[in-house]
């Protein structure tokens, strides 16, 4: 199971990469593997305000729909429109081209509620 070293993680298997005050987020390798082929992504509206751990995206696979939660609160500044025509990007490159949204962070301290790569790895181990 691939884990990006410098990203932060949630228990719901979202990842976030923070640069300045912008958080880019998506779902982890574990999540995309569990979901299977992604067939539809219901993207959030740009400019919408969301709170940390609020449900703001829905990712559908052939057989199921899953709620995705905001790893950090703030304003949605950009969404990955490529997922509209090519949702399989999430399966192919979940930490890169399969990113879902960028959020302008309200409160940097919220990152203390997230796991480091090492903590997330241990968390995954604990699930089995």
């Amino acid at each position: 199971m691939e884990i990006e070293e410098n990203f932060l993680y949630t228990k719901e298997h979202e990842w976030v990469s923070v640069e300045d005050n912008i958080a880019t987020m998506g779902i982890t390798d574990y999540a995309q593997e569990a979901l299977g082929d992604v067939t539809y992504v219901e993207l959030p509206e740009e400019e919408s305000e969301i709170e940390q751990f609020e449900q703001f995206v829905s990712v559908e696979s052939v057989k199921a729909a899953s709620d995705i939660y905001a790893p950090m609160g703030g304003r949605v500044t950009e969404v990955n429109r490529k997922l509209e025509d090519n949702p399989a990007l999430i399966n192919k490159d979940c930490y890169g081209k399969g990113w879902i949204a960028k959020i302008e962070i309200n409160d940097m301290d919220e990152s203390t509620n997230l796991m480091s790569a090492e903590e997330y790895r241990n968390y995954l181990d604990s699930l089995h």
């Binding site: 299977g36 082929d37 067939t39 539809y40 219901e42 559908e60 696979s61 052939v62 057989k63 199921a64 729909a65 949702p87 399966n91």
Partner: protein, 361 residues
């Protein structure tokens, strides 16, 4: 995996092939080996092998009318030629569906009934209670394995292993040998593609599975895609479109009901004009309906519930089956699925959704 689940003879094979295993109808079954989309593609274009050993098989010997079999099932069976099969159902006294099933006529007075895995015990009790005393009844479910070979190239694979298979037309069967192992093979299936269901002894199933998979064109395929394929064909699944609270008329089983004969549940089943009826609809987007979603009319009024929903790889949009008010189930009507807060548009469609299936070729 829970200890309470039954295993087919192939559980070790599935695990060794990397299958994701899930509990289904009390059985530990392969959901997928690679991915649902890849397995869909292979089934619709080439040929796939499914382990369906979880399904139930009953053997009944006797004259259909005299032994009571005819009265248990809803459809006409007395005129069935030997070596043909016919789809039907059996009802409780209240007219609800106990199970849907396929009757195989093995001889003038010998029958095999194939039923759903989750209903084996319940069905066996029903048969034992309603067959005439001293009628031969055997629940052969745990000694009969079943492999489904499905896909446009299934005949090409099977004609080498089971010579003479080409003669089988749709919904007929015969006895064959694969590697010297005795099998009953019918030209039936649940995918909409040309295909065969192979019934063989439980302890020989692994050998047949391996022999068929040795063909380069055949790939193992899980129950995940089997469900997608059957929804694309608008085939009902027990527990979704059929159960004991659903009447056969609601479920659209009309043409599998013989109104000219007596059968258990007949009076109630035929008397009811259902207030709701099964319907089929295509989402306007890739957003897919899911079982349990509500169905709304264009005015926002709740008119039904989704029983099965999936993304359709064949249509590249979401598709759904559900029960809805009679007025709204006409082809072309716009409906919405989802919940009060989040609705998506869809159009009521004709069955089947997937029109290019090879099953009758």
């Amino acid at each position: 995996m829970e200890n309470s689940l039954n295993n087919t003879p192939l559980v070790d094979e599935h695990v060794a092939l990397g299958a994701k295993m899930v509990g289904f109808g009390g059985w530990n079954m392969p959901l997928q080996y690679v991915s649902i989309l890849a397995e869909w593609e292979h089934n619709r274009r080439t040929v796939s092998l499914f382990d369906c050993s979880h399904m139930g098989e009953f053997i009944i010997k006797g004259d259909a009318l005299e032994c009571g079999l005819d009265k248990i099932v809803t459809h006409t069976i007395v005129d069935m030629p030997v070596n043909t099969c016919r789809y039907g159902a059996m009802l409780n006294e209240a007219g609800g569906v106990i199970d849907d099933l396929i009757v195989y006529r093995k001889g003038p007075q010998e029958w095999m009934i194939v039923v759903n895995a989750s209903n084996i015990e319940k069905n066996a009790r029903h048969f034992r209670a309603h067959l005439k005393p001293r009628t031969y009844f055997e629940d052969a479910s745990f000694k009969t394995a079943k492999l489904d070979l499905q896909g446009p190239q299934s005949r090409d694979v099977l004609k080498v292993l089971a010579p003479g298979i080409e003669k089988l037309s749709y919904y007929t069967f015969d006895q064959f040998q694969i590697n010297g192992i005795h099998c009953l093979i019918s030209r039936t299936g649940y995918t909409g593609e040309l295909g065969y269901e192979i019934y063989c002894p439980w302890e020989k199933c692994k050998e047949i599975w391996k022999t068929i998979l040795a063909h380069a064109t055949v790939k193992p395929t899980g129950l995940g895609v089997r469900d997608v394929l059957r929804v694309e064909m608008c085939y009902s699944l027990y527990g979704h479109e059929l159960d004991e609270t659903i009447s056969p008329m609601e479920a659209g089983l009309d043409k599998f009901i013989d109104g000219n004969k007596d059968f258990i549940g007949r009076k109630v089943a035929l008397a009811k004009t259902p207030g709701r009826i099964i319907g089929y609809f295509i989402s306007n987007s890739r957003k897919s309906p899911r079982a349990g979603n509500k169905i709304f009319d264009a005015g926002g009024q709740e008119i039904g519930v989704v029983t099965s929903g999936t993304f359709s790889p064949g249509l590249q949009v979401g598709i759904g089956i559900g029960f809805m008010s009679r007025l709204s189930k006409d082809v072309g009507v716009e409906i919405f699925f989802g919940d009060e807060k989040n609705k998506a548009a869809a159009i009521v469609a004709k069955r089947p959704f997937y029109k290019n299936g090879s099953f009758k070729t």
